[in-house]
Amino acid sequence: MSIAFLAEQSFNALQLGLMLFLMAVGVTLAFGTMRLINLAHGSFFMLAAYFYAWIIAQTESGIVAWVGALGALAILAIAIERLIIRPLYLRDHLEQVLATFGLILVFNDLVMMIWGRDPVYVPLPDILSGHVMLGDIAYPTYRLVITAVAVVIGIAIWYLIACTRTGGLIRASADNRAVVQALGANVDRLGAVVFALVAVLAGIAGIMTAPLIAVTSGMGDSVLIQSLVVVIIGGLGSIAGALVGAILVAFVEVFGRTYLPMALGNTTGFALANMAIYLLMAVTLVWRPFGIFGKPR
């Protein structure tokens, strides 16, 4: 087992972790600000990838596809928030689960109706399709770039939450929505802004992941559940928790898939590797029922 291989695996894990963070931070913000559990979060991940694939096939311009896909997603998210999500803020979580599950069913079928059942492949941009030498390892340029982009976005999220007025309102309504409203802030508009923001974050993750995997209906489901595991481990409503949870889950996932089959033989190893992040979650729950950074609620 060479150091180079270890380093490459670590980079892969870091990159997966940052993608999961972009998803999980949305789950955590939606719950923190609006007490909303949104299962359709994975649908934004999928829809952005489909939008991007379609626009880039029409225009062959990466920039147009990025702007178009995220713009369309933001508009869609605002419409969904207004029509379906807003009436559910004060209802119980069961109804939020059911309505957002309904949205998943609709979107999964809708993309198949429009773009067909076959997976859609998204080309890598030419400039990014090569490899970069990091010491001894040739690492794919594209993975390196999306890792960097994710870091920049992560810092931007932190700045938005910690240093701006909107961020202050988001943090305040996570603590007490009623008081924020009583102080004169427009919490409805804040909800819409946050919902569009988390949709765009999920969309960025979806677009950046699209060239690495095939774009298919239902691709958001597994990502959604992984990001829920991240949030359970990190603690619901905590942004630091989302980051720590995402990195933990990603490292366990990537290294589990590599080393467990080596250590335990292929059959047991693969089965355990498939279940590794859930076992990590179980262990965390024994230790802290509400996640590492979570508070009982």
Partner: protein, 312 residues
């Protein structure tokens, strides 16, 4: 909660009995198969209603127990064990044990955490089943034969339907009796106000855990029957998280906290899917629209609305 007049209740029981008897006597193969599916999914929905309606807990992980019941039945059948009197208790016991372990961890939390944790643990079984050697992985596997019950074969669809309906009715009666026992009242007290119930000496955690394990056992039993009906098991058919969500939809389509409402909901749901999939491959989209409409437009279940009309 309002209760229906006695005459209406007796009427409902008579109609249900007549429907089961008529199906058992005159139903053809297709109808019997569909009716058996309703009974089986109804049973699973009753399991969800036990925790949702009586303990107030939203479980998004009941596919795990359903799937475990099915997988244990299937794995034992592959090894040549098909005697239901031995296999079924093992399968149901495994599901109950899994519910006990998952419940022990998940019940330390509540609300959204409980929903997400049950979902995540069910996903663990889903991905685990994808990788277990000898059970077909993601493609699933066919069962060599149906279980026998005390040596009697269950291959006759009529006999199988009668058995499924009998089990459903027996579980309904058992659960209904339990809901009027001290156990059921304590459980509902813990649901309504856990501080007061704790103050009056009710051990909320242990009570909920018991309910969750019973519910897991019932879902496991439904999984056992499902494996015997379809003779085909795959992670995507018995362990998918969509199944867990659909079970919640069924309970909500009927009425949570009534047990029989879950069966009505299962019948409505399966009939809806059957009819829509006759016209289009994209039936799931219309089901999704129906679910969203149900949540946004009809605030209570269909049965609550009906019941209000009857009792008004």
């Amino acid at each position: 909660m309002t209760t229906l007049p006695l005459s209406v209740r007796i009427g409902i029981v008579c109609v249900a009995t007549a429907a089961i008897a008529a199906l058992a006597a005159f139903g053809d193969q297709t109808m019997l198969r569909f009716a058996s599916r309703i009974a089986i999914m109804g049973l699973a929905a009753v399991a969800v209603d036990v925790v949702l309606g009586y303990a107030g807990l939203v479980s998004l992980g009941h596919a795990a127990f359903f799937g475990l019941g099915a997988y244990v039945t299937g794995a034992l059948a592959l090894m040549g064990h098909t005697e239901g009197l031995i296999v079924w208790p093992i399968a149901v016991g495994t599901a109950a044990l899994a519910a006990l372990i998952i419940g022990a961890l998940a019940l330390r939390t509540s609300g959204v955490y409980f929903i997400m944790i049950t979902l995540a643990f069910a996903q663990m079984f889903y991905y685990g089943a994808n990788a277990v050697p000898g059970l077909g992985g993601a493609d699933g596997f066919r069962l060599p034969s149906r279980s026998t019950l005390g040596g009697l074969p269950l291959d006759n669809p009529r006999a199988f339907f009668v058995l499924s309906a009998f089990i459903l009715v027996a579980v309904l009666l058992f659960a209904r009796r339990a809901s009027f026992a001290a156990f059921g009242y304590a459980l509902q007290a813990a649901r309504d106000d856990d501080v007061r119930s704790a103050a009056s000496g009710i051990e909320n955690y242990r009570l909920r855990l018991a309910a969750f394990a019973i519910s897991g056992a019932i879902a496991g039993l439904a999984g056992v029957l499902s494996a015997n009906l379809t003779l085909y098991i795959a992670p995507s058919s018995v362990l998918s998280w969509h199944l867990s969500a659909e079970l919640l939809v069924m309970v909500i389509l009927g009425m949570a906290g009534t047990l029989y409402g879950a069966v009505v909901g299962a019948a409505i749901f399966l009939a809806l899917v059957e009819v829509i999939s006759h016209y289009t491959d994209f039936w799931a989209m219309y089901v999704g629209i129906a679910v969203i409409a149900r949540v946004l437009l009809i605030r209570d279940g269909l049965l609550v609305t009906l019941r209000r009309l009857v009792t008004a």
